[in-house]
Symmetry: C2
Subunit: 388 residues, 2 copies
Amino acid sequence: MNPFLYSIPTKVYFGENQLGHLGPELARFGQRVLLTYGGGSIKATGLYDRVVAEIRKAGLVLFELPGIEPNPRVTSVRQGAELCKREKIDVLLAVGGGSTIDCTKFIGAGAFYDGDPWDLSTGAAKIAQCLPIVTVLTLSATGSEMDSGGVITNLETREKLGNGHPVMVPKVSFLDPTNTYTVSAYQTACGAADILSHTLEVYCNTEPDLELLDGFMEHLVRTVVQFAPVAQREPTNYEARANLMWASSWAINGFVVGGRRQAWSCHPIEHEVSAIYDITHGLGLAILTPRWMEYCLDARTAPRLARFARNVFGVDPALDPSVAAREGIRRLSAFYFETLGLKSSFTALGIDRTHFAHMARKACEGGTIHGFQPLDQKAVETIFEMCL
Amino acid sequence: MNPFLYSIPTKVYFGENQLGHLGPELARFGQRVLLTYGGGSIKATGLYDRVVAEIRKAGLVLFELPGIEPNPRVTSVRQGAELCKREKIDVLLAVGGGSTIDCTKFIGAGAFYDGDPWDLSTGAAKIAQCLPIVTVLTLSATGSEMDSGGVITNLETREKLGNGHPVMVPKVSFLDPTNTYTVSAYQTACGAADILSHTLEVYCNTEPDLELLDGFMEHLVRTVVQFAPVAQREPTNYEARANLMWASSWAINGFVVGGRRQAWSCHPIEHEVSAIYDITHGLGLAILTPRWMEYCLDARTAPRLARFARNVFGVDPALDPSVAAREGIRRLSAFYFETLGLKSSFTALGIDRTHFAHMARKACEGGTIHGFQPLDQKAVETIFEMCL
């Protein structure tokens, strides 16, 4: 069991009607606020107006960067970092989902960097400082509201790169489940798949670690499996939205990791797919994850996958581990593709073999991925084939 | 479902061989360190020497306050606060269990208060500021290493009072399971009972809250039930000690509470017992908790207790809720008094009816306790009778 550092300094206002705290929290960091958001859905829901009203009430100076894309672009990061420098921004306020928050993290780091902020994604330059970030979350999925990482896409180089640093962890996040009431059934499903993937990337591990965390991860999965379909059927079900929202944060804020050391597998692979095809991250993960689990299944990994099957889906404990493991994977697939109604294959998304070799090579650019099973380029191509 | 604020800023170094970080972490807060500890067991284990070596390596100035009692006394708080003022202490380093850490919290707050620090326990004065606190934990029990509270005993007034404030949350805690290898089987059992009580005070609640947290609490209990007996049998079992240690922090650091609003019941009642009899807090809780659950059992609370019985002890889901609830309470009692070998009654501890009326009156001094069931003085006396 490895030692680990636990540090989650984000302060979270969870629940309805907490926006009254927004002004004073922003004011702790300064007067000049840059509000970042996406395509304008927050204007349609009225959240934009409520946020702006709180900023005005606190007497702060407001700047805006709208139009942050899903799979956010480095062009937005550049624009935001430039604006921060020019306007001497004190604090960033990201209102949106993981894309807006991820982009805002790199804007905050870019504000302290003289070169092209893309260097902070590639690792060509080190992330050293970041403007304080406050978030108002509108989508339960990436966990960016409580973690240190973000993923940025560069359309010129056809790259989608994740990076992070503790200085980028949001200082304060507002998690109001009612702000996700307008999330579509499709996006709710993609968000659920993202949460489950974050959990399973850590859980699918043969290294011994804390039982306390193993059981918590199983309960995270059970919670998402229980409430995502409820949120799809009843978009304004507070209990369902609240459980998904808190699950999204806790799947990836660092708590579940403990001392486990292992590379993530599905995330870097999916990033190569959505870098080319611009599909929703969660959908890509839903298609890849069960195939990856199946690819990884052997005598060494079967007990772990069998435990997952038993404790999450109630698969018969008397079954042979490899049989139970297969049944667990089948139940997970059924959850994604039957219960949540997500498309179940690359073929259904119009993705064919054209870029498999390229995407697999890019996924393994840093060498073999040492995850649940080691994955080299050939292995990733095999998993892609399984996704057809 | 109520809104809530989540904020746990404590940085935790979890695992073996992390003390190399102690010096730099202390130095962040200043040069003058007050080391607080208990009866000297840390000298016997060599932990004292290792801690002092790190302080010297960092070039810090060391002051010491040894002799902090179990059920720590206000006299120690007074002495420590005085020393902080006199020596212009910058940072407090508590090395020990919950008693040492609790006492250190009130020393840290007392350093900023001109009157008698007991006022900070009674509420006669408000806690406003606190010296930064770093801890090295040696007992898995109270969770004081990651929370904002503490309990202080005043032998003159025969009072044992809990109070707390976010400024008293430790900045950094070192949780090395090997530092609990020397904890006796008896103290391991008392610690386990304390962890379970923290969890059950929150879990035993009929207010709806997040399923994510309900399941986590059930897993906290399962984890303690699984590993406390292992730690008793094999004191140097790292896995068992590690699970108990991390469980102790997470049972009470605020995470499990969510938006639940409810007064704690067993803790304030137990404090009145140990204020008079100076018994180990965890032992008092082990004796009180199952009786309290039994007292609380009625048609309204049965479903909750039945869920506990099913999910923690695997009690047959087909049983009637009140039957299942009784079986769960029986299994919890068996865990405390058979598996862990704790004494099962007040009588076995030499506690008779003499002070029942006084203790019950003190427990309800602030009015009826509005917990799982409302408890007035008469109710508390009834629970005491059940403990004989």
